[in-house]
């Protein structure tokens, strides 16, 4: 069913339309939340929060003016993720330690030493990301993992492109500080 019709039906209070909008967008929002939180439980919380917030405010979504419901929802997801991390600041520092265990086991036939280096490297990346502010972390994620352009990030976060560049530069600097050359060489 067409997204516009679904949104119109959802705005009229149709629960089936809401369910359909959830089905169409759930994976994209969960992927964003999981990349951001690096933890399944937190990502599920962000997913639920995003859809509850978006569906409660669906009457504010203007079909003619906004680009699409999916991108509007994605923006809600971004804000929910940042807010979630801000609220759970105490847990932020622990995020990196959970991730090492969550990295998938080595595939059959792969070099165990190399696999260990890969996991150690990923652990360092996540620890560096955990040290960033929620906004810097989101900007780095959108740029590096989601491959958004700087202009698109500025639109999503409703800030200037200069501000995005500054946050991106600080995020990259923090990640660089978390690395030592041997770790890079192990991977190459």
């Amino acid at each position: 069913m067409d997204e516009t019709l679904l949104v119109q039906a959802a705005q009229a209070g149709n629960r089936t339309a809401l369910r359909e909008l959830f089905e169409q967008n759930k994976r994209k929002i969960f992927a964003l939340a999981y990349q951001y939180a690096r933890n399944r439980e937190d990502a599920e919380d962000i997913l639920q929060e995003t859809f509850i917030k978006a569906f409660r405010r669906i009457h504010t979504f203007r079909i003619q003016e906004e680009t699409s419901f999916a991108s509007w929802l994605f923006r809600v997801g971004i804000n929910c993720s940042i807010d979630y991390l801000r609220r759970n600041k105490a847990r932020r520092t622990e995020l990196g330690s959970d991730v090492l265990a969550a990295v998938p086991a080595a595939a059959k036939g792969s070099d165990p030493q190399r696999e260990h280096a890969r996991r150690e490297f990923r652990h360092r990346v996540d620890r560096s990301l955990a040290g960033l502010s929620p906004r810097q972390r989101m900007i780095f994620l959108l740029k590096h993992d989601q491959q958004f352009s700087i202009r698109e990030i500025a639109v999503q976060l409703q800030c200037t492109e200069g501000s995005v560049k500054t946050h991106l530069f600080r995020a990259v600097s923090a990640i660089k500080r978390g690395f030592k050359n041997p770790a890079l060489e192990d991977l190459s």
């Binding site: 992927a31 997913l47 639920q48 509850i52 969550a102 990346v125 530069f169 660089k176 991977l187 190459s188």
Partner: protein, 239 residues
């Protein structure tokens, strides 16, 4: 040490978003500055290495459970049950609002309302001179004396025409004056305090007589005489 003005541009250029003049300027600078060139290479290497260890893809989750939580979260918060649900929402808060207003009213009346009649009158009485004090007392005794004389001698004598009809409003007014005088002057003069107590008691009995109380004019006469109220009044008038 890298040149600060090119730091941000280096990162933006690695992501392929530096265009035109700024890009050419950065490239020109990198060709000349070894330190910035090294910094640029390190940054590029770090970002490239992130590609070699990508974050794991999101795990599969129980979508149905998540949808149920979302659906529950869409229900209006604090849905009421039973007879309360039939009432409009404001009705629930109305008693609370009334209680708050009542407490506020009490607080304003007690602590901030400027008009306090009793306090003002007693305050004025406390500040008056001894001569005025004496004049006030004399005037009060002048008003009380005829009533007391009527009860102590004339009205209760056998063969007399009986007690004069007592004005209830006047008796009440005398009682109020009694209270005010006690508050203002009794602390300084215990003898006066005793006398005013007795007068208060007698005036109250007279007021009650009109309400067909058990006290008789004869018993009031005894009280006035036994406690020598009139002579005490005379003594205090002379001071």
């Amino acid at each position: 040490m890298t040149c600060p003005r090119f730091k941000k541009d280096m990162v933006v250029n690695i992501y392929g978003e530096l265009n035109g003049k700024r890009r050419r300027r950065l490239e020109g600078h990198l060709a000349r500055c070894a330190s910035c060139r090294e910094e640029f290479e390190t940054t590029r290497k770090v970002l490239a290495s992130l590609e070699k260890a990508p974050a794991e893809s999101p795990p599969e989750i129980d979508w149905e459970r998540n949808w149920n939580t979302i659906e529950a979260g869409l229900e209006p918060a604090g849905r009421r049950s039973g007879f309360l649900s039939a009432l409009p929402r404001w009705w629930v808060y109305a008693p609370l609002a009334l209680a708050v207003l009542f407490i506020l009213g009490l607080a304003v009346g007690r602590y901030w309302w400027p008009w306090r009649p009793t306090t003002l009158v007693t305050a004025k009485l406390r500040t008056i001179s001894p001569a005025t004090e004496q004049a006030l007392l004399s005037r009060y005794f002048e008003d009380v004396k005829p009533i007391l004389l009527d009860y102590a001698h004339d009205g209760t004598k056998p063969g007399s025409e009986g007690l004069l009809p007592t004005d209830r409003v006047m008796v009440r007014s005398l009682l109020v004056q009694n209270v005010l005088l006690k508050r203002a002057l009794a602390r300084k003069n215990p003898t006066l305090a005793d006398l005013l107590d007795d007068l208060g008691m007698i005036l109250t009995e007279i007021a009650n007589l009109q309400a067909q109380d058990t006290t008789t004019p004869e018993s009031l006469k005894n009280v006035i005489n036994e406690r020598r109220v009139l002579s005490r009044m005379r003594r205090l008038e002379k001071i």
